[in-house]
């Protein structure tokens, strides 16, 4: 087959689209920047692509709540296209604002499989302000309940024990809708990334930069193909983006690139 095709959705206020496209290109895919209007007006079909990325930014100014207005466009206007896209086994990654969009449109975690209910949210940081800082991340436990799975999330498969990425957001505190939802996320191994300190231990602020419940930084759905995270993997694809690369302790390749490679490799193998 040819190159994996990635559609990078942008709209008013999207601003991490170009670097996300670059990360996918480095991972070997073709990436197209497409305005949401082209999709809602029927000029472009989502299903012509293997992977969809919703990049960071402040879509529609984050008015009302972060990601909410774009979330509703996916939820209502693109309902059928989106469901087909997911049912056909394609992949979605939402980064920062994109994660907010996936959660607020019901695509994540989508525990009841209906795409209808909002089961969690990303809300204002405990610090009540926007913060740009680097965080250490670890994969969540595989879970122990019925649906437990090792490496459920296809995007984080085989990444290092602890990875280092920047966050830059004001509304990134992950909150599940209720205790049962939290339990299922844990039991079924859907917590893809957690905030930790450099030794992998769970610590409070600033290691957990926003006050997320149980240090959750990223989750996936039960297929593992839909993945959302607050940190920015596209901002750590080369060593020069690492804040301490001049101390000569950084690897040449950034920790974030593996995530894009995983998505592209999975699509290549399965689609």
């Amino acid at each position: 087959m040819g190159k994996i095709k990635v559609i990078i959705i942008r709209t008013a206020g999207t601003n991490c689209d170009e670097e996300t496209a670059y990360a996918f290109q480095l991972a070997g895919a073709d990436a197209a920047l497409v305005h949401i209007n082209e999709v809602t007006r029927g000029e472009r079909d989502l299903n012509g692509y293997h992977i969809m990325a919703i990049p960071g930014g402040f879509t529609y100014g984050d008015d009302i709540a972060s990601g909410k207005i774009l979330a509703n466009e996916f939820k209502f206007e693109l309902k059928h296209q989106m469901r087909k896209f997911v049912k056909d086994g394609r992949l979605i990654i939402g980064i920062c604002n994109g994660f907010q969009v996936l959660v607020k449109s019901g695509f994540l975690p989508n525990l009841n499989g209906s795409f209808e209910s909002i089961e969690a949210t990303l809300t204002i940081n405990d610090s009540a302000k926007f913060e740009d800082r680097w965080v250490y991340l670890k994969k969540g436990a595989r879970g122990k309940g019925q649906g437990a799975s090792k490496d459920r999330c296809v995007w984080t498969k085989g990444i290092g024990d602890i990875i280092y990425l920047p966050v830059a957001h004001g509304e990134g505190k992950f909150m599940p809708g209720n205790r049962d939802i939290m339990k299922r996320l844990k039991n079924e191994g859907m917590i893809a990334l957690e905030y930790v300190d450099e030794n992998g231990r769970k610590k409070g602020y600033p290691h957990n930069p926003n006050g997320s419940i149980d240090n959750i930084a990223g989750i996936c759905d039960n297929t593992g193909r839909i993945f959302g995270l607050m940190p920015h993997p596209e901002r750590h694809i080369t060593c020069f983006q690492h804040p301490r690369w001049t101390r000569k302790n950084a690897k040449k390749e950034g920790d974030g690139l593996a995530i894009f490679r995983n998505g592209v490799a999975f699509a290549k193998k399965n689609l």
Binding site: N15, E19, Y22, A128, Q241
Partner: protein, 953 residues
């Protein structure tokens, strides 16, 4: 039908906004504290909406079902236990969320929505009187320029009245001098008598009176803000007449240096230099002082929004890639009681300005990577807010030319009553009445509108759909169309300009400084294709007129002629000002400081001085990594790091080429001598560039002068000296100016007293770096490595932070020896290229002691420094340890060296002196000239002192 919806956090959910409002309230030190603050978001929806529609809107759009609940029948919260303050936007002020909320309601399939207005309700618990509540609301919850406290929640803001055309002319041709002055004052024209007389003469010749619109157009074009009449006028100084200060100083440097990589300088909206074979880079820095003094959040936000449109309006449009910001505020611990009338507290201004830059820059997706913040008593009434932007564009898009016959197209946001008289208002002094009379001069920004504008303009540019572009900044359409059509002529039909709301008069449409608009010159055959590009992404592009060839500016409203004047008179007709300048060096008392044996306390004090202390609180609120190009960040090293000298950015992700940005500013030196201030801040900006690995031969600089009222000879004399300093030092360093801007009249008059800011010059430096992998940071890297100081230290504590901490200014302001400085910087480049420098930090505020301490704690490593091993030649005239440690002599660097032999060889013949080494432990020690221990501290303690002041803002 009209609906009022209230949304609040569910019980048990943390109200982060309420918590942060509580912190701000309790900062005020009222008699009693607020125990709890809750916030309620209010939406007023109007339209053909039924109850089921409202339920859908609430549940599917307005609330977060996990954390929030809603009510549309009354109050969402039982309010009896609280004092309630509801804040709403004033009529006529754009509600920033209206447009997107309307769109989102339409997306839900609900078509009847007409308007959306929002308000915020604060519920406050505490023993606070009604007076306390009124005071705290005014101090921290709202700004009366754009908002008000709602008295009756059922009140609906009235529809603005419709406008009926009525031509207004001003009786000028018969007016005597006294009347001319009154016309200028009453109309907020800020024109002097000479200028009014010139205008009168022009219209006497035409045999008619001017319309209000004509007079406004002339006032705006001739304003200090747009015309720079002080800098371009005649100045009598020291028995000679300087004809055009700008041309004779700053611009002369560039002309003499003839750098091949300077593409377009002092011509376009920003200065343009070459980046590589494919791209050029442009850079512009502006100030937005007066608006930020009155409405810090909106003022600073539109400051950054405005400067972003400068690169966007340069050539055929550059993509904005880096923001810079530099602020000068009054002391954050200033007493509330001693604030002059009508002035906002420095802390309020600072928080508002930072939030304004943050929200605009972050939403635009432009990293804010470089800046500085300074504090001084004399900025209390008149803070300074400098905002800069760097853009990148293909080389073949660097020039523009409008043609007669091209259509005039306004793109982006709609025009409202915001920002009327901004250009003329910024040309006057602030007074305690400014809050009342100049309210409309403050604009409200909408960064997403501007982001859409950038996205679409760059597409239209790459399709070659227009022939010229410029931004609608100060002076609005008047300035943009007036400048673009200066050599051609222009005809505009004002009723075609899209408006935010009804009721604007023709002259208001013409001079409104509503944000997020650009003007394009479009060949008629390309108009359809152009409009299509904008339409696709929901941006308005409207034809409002065309460029002609008769060099007249003609405006009409609904077929009525409202302006018809000669472009030559408009742009060349202003009388040249003749101003007197004189300067006498002020004498400050010479400090008497008793020498101390232990200087640890002094160093800790300096590290906690607000001018030196960590600005991490600000830096982290800015997204400085968006676009993925950040290579050297503002904070460097471990655990929150230390203050980097310059930032390095890679604008093209698959290239190793980088942009280095640094800045120099020091109002404390300006108090003593503006010439040496200019010299020092140029040296500082260039030191910063050199520190990270940038080179002088690919470096350009920008000037931003902020001065008091230059109608006063002493203020103007200082300005002349600063401009002369710029000329001499930049020329000697071989560094051209590529752009600049001046902001004069930075004074605050309360009663009969006028307080001027200290003379302040910001020098912003930009350099192109071939390989970012060679960049160097300031954090100490490895124990055992040697520490050297490069450059000699002199007894130059005048204007130093050490003196300031002790309450003095002093007189020995640092000077610059350019031949030595240049050779030091060039040999530093060689040493860095050879890989011998592991870390490097420039010595600036706080002198070598602060630089050494910052390097040590940034790397989390101890140091052992011994001043007794310095030869006398390193500090010929210094006998005291505190002078040696805290003097701020220019052209000095501290470097960490791994291969000493190689380093010494490269630096041969330069003033290079060993100071000591990096230690294994965490102890930072300095021995004095006599060999006794002077300073001893754990580096963590030093760092804590540096981080403390702004930690819990």
């Amino acid at each position: 039908m009209f609906w009022r919806i209230e949304i609040k956090e569910k019980e048990g959910h943390f109200d982060a906004l309420g918590e942060s409002a509580k912190r701000d309230i309790n900062d005020l030190d009222l008699r009693s504290r607020a125990r709890e603050v809750k916030t309620v978001q209010v939406y007023h929806l109007d339209g053909e909406l039924q109850e089921p529609d409202i339920k859908t809107i609430c549940e599917d759009l307005l609330i977060d079902p996990v954390t929030q609940e809603y009510d549309y029948s009354g109050s969402a919260e039982a309010e009896s236990r609280f004092k309630v303050v509801e804040v709403a936007y004033n009529p006529g002020v754009m509600d920033p969320v209206e447009e997107s909320t309307k769109k989102a309601i339409l997306d839900l399939g609900i078509a009847g929505i007409r308007s959306v207005r929002t308000a915020k309700k604060y519920l406050i618990k505490g023993d606070l009187s009604a007076d306390d509540i009124r005071l705290l609301a005014e101090k921290v919850l709202y700004n009366k320029l754009v908002q008000h406290v709602v008295k009756d929640p059922s009140e609906v803001s009235a529809e603005p009245p419709t406008y009926c055309f009525k031509l207004i002319s001003v009786d000028l041709i018969k007016a005597a001098d006294k009347r001319l002055k009154k016309i200028s004052r009453d109309g907020q024209l800020f024109l002097d008598l000479e200028e009014m007389r010139t205008i009168k003469k022009y219209f006497v010749k035409l045999g008619r009176n001017p319309t209000d619109c004509e007079l406004e157009t002339i006032a705006q074009t001739w304003s200090e803000h747009c015309y720079h009449k002080t800098f371009r006028g005649l100045v009598k100084y020291n028995g000679k007449t300087i004809d055009n200060l700008l041309k004779n100083t700053v611009m002369k440097v560039t002309k003499k240096l003839k750098k091949k990589w300077c593409v377009s300088v002092f011509e376009d909206n920003s200065g343009v230099i070459r980046f590589d074979e494919k791209f050029n880079i442009c850079f512009k820095v502006e100030t937005h002082n007066h608006p930020s003094a009155l409405e810090p959040y909106g003022g600073a936000g539109t400051g950054i929004g405005g400067v972003i449109r400068d690169p966007l309006g340069t050539g055929l449009g550059a993509k904005p890639i880096i923001n810079t910001d530099v602020f000068c505020f009054g002391p954050p611990d200033h007493s509330y009681k001693k604030l002059p009338k009508g002035v906002l507290h420095p802390k309020r201004i600072m928080k508002g300005v930072v939030a304004g830059v943050r929200d605009y820059g972050n939403r635009m997706g432009i990293p804010t990577s470089n800046g500085a913040v300074l504090f001084d008593e004399n900025f209390v009434g008149n803070p300074l807010v400098f905002c800069g932007n760097v853009g990148i564009m293909p080389r073949n898009k660097s020039f523009k030319e409008a043609h007669s016959g091209d259509l005039i197209v306004v793109v982006g946001g709609r025009t409202g009553r915001d920002g009327i008289h901004g250009a003329t208002f910024s040309s006057g002094e602030l007074t305690h009445e400014s809050h009342g009379v100049s309210g409309s001069a403050v604009q409200i920004g909408n960064p997403i509108q501007e982001k859409k504008l950038v996205d679409t303009i760059l597409q239209a540019r790459d399709l070659n759909l227009y022939s010229a572009i410029t931004d609608c900044g100060a002076g609005g359409l008047s300035s943009a169309v007036g400048e673009m059509g200066a050599e051609l002529g222009a005809e505009v039909e004002l009723e075609k300009v899209p408006l935010k709301y009804k009721g604007l008069r023709y002259d208001e449409i013409w001079i409104s400084e509503a944000q997020e608009r650009m003007v394009l010159a479009v060949p008629p055959e390309k108009i359809d294709a152009l409009q299509n590009v904008f339409k696709k992404e929901n941006v308005e592009a409207t034809v409002i007129g065309n460029f002609t060839k008769d060099r007249r500016l003609r405006l009409s409203y609904d077929g009525n002629r409202v302006c018809d004047i000669d472009m030559r008179f408009l742009h060349k007709g202003a009388p040249r000002t003749v101003r007197k300048a004189s300067w006498k060096r002020p004498r400050f008392s010479e400090p008497r400081i008793i020498p101390k044996k232990d200087l640890t306390g002094e160093l800790l004090g300096l590290l906690s001085n607000p001018n030196i202390a960590s600005k991490e609180w600000i830096i982290r609120q800015y997204d400085h990594e968006v676009q993925g190009g950040s290579v050297i960040k503002p904070l460097q090293g471990i655990n929150g790091g230390g203050p980097g000298d310059a930032c390095v950015t890679r604008p093209v992700l698959n290239s190793k080429k980088g942009i280095v940005l640094g800045c120099g500013i020091n109002p404390d030196y300006g108090k003593i001598d503006p010439y040496w201030m200019a010299a020092s801040v140029i040296d500082e900006a260039l030191r910063q560039i050199t520190s990270v690995g940038g080179k002088l031969d690919r470096c350009a600089i920008l000037d931003n002068f902020c001065w008091g009222n230059t109608n006063k000879p002493d203020r103007l004399g200082g300005l002349v000296r600063a401009a002369e300093g710029c000329h001499d030092i930049a020329l000697a360093y071989g560094v051209p100016f590529i752009s600049g801007k001046d902001s004069l009249n930075n004074e605050y008059s309360a009663g009969n007293k006028s307080i001027s800011i200290p003379p302040t010059l910001l020098i912003s430096a930009i350099a192109i770096m071939d390989d970012v992998a060679r960049a160097v940071t300031m954090d100490a890297k490895k124990s055992g490595n040697a520490i050297y100081i490069i450059g000699k230290t002199h007894d130059e504590l005048g204007g130093s932070q050490y003196y300031k901490m002790k309450g003095y200014v002093g007189n020995n302001v640092p000077k610059v020896d350019t031949p030595t400085g240049k050779s030091i910087m060039e040999s530093m480049n060689k040493a860095m290229d050879a890989g011998c420098v592991r870390s490097c930090h420039d010595c600036s505020e706080g002198g070598m002691a602060v630089a050494l301490a910052e390097m040590a704690f940034a790397g989390g490593l101890g140091m052992e420094i011994d001043l007794s091993i310095l030869p006398d030649s390193a500090h010929e005239d210094i006998k005291r340890d505190d002078t040696l440690l805290f003097s701020e002599s220019n052209s000095r660097f501290i470097v960490e060296v791994e291969n000493e032999a190689k380093f010494i060889k490269i630096m041969k013949g330069k003033p290079v002196f060993k100071l000591g080494r990096i230690n294994k432990g965490k102890i930072f020690k300095i021995y004095g000239m006599s060999g006794d221990i002077l300073i001893k501290s754990d580096v963590d303690r030093l760092k804590a002192a540096w981080q403390r002041p702004f930690k819990n803002m």
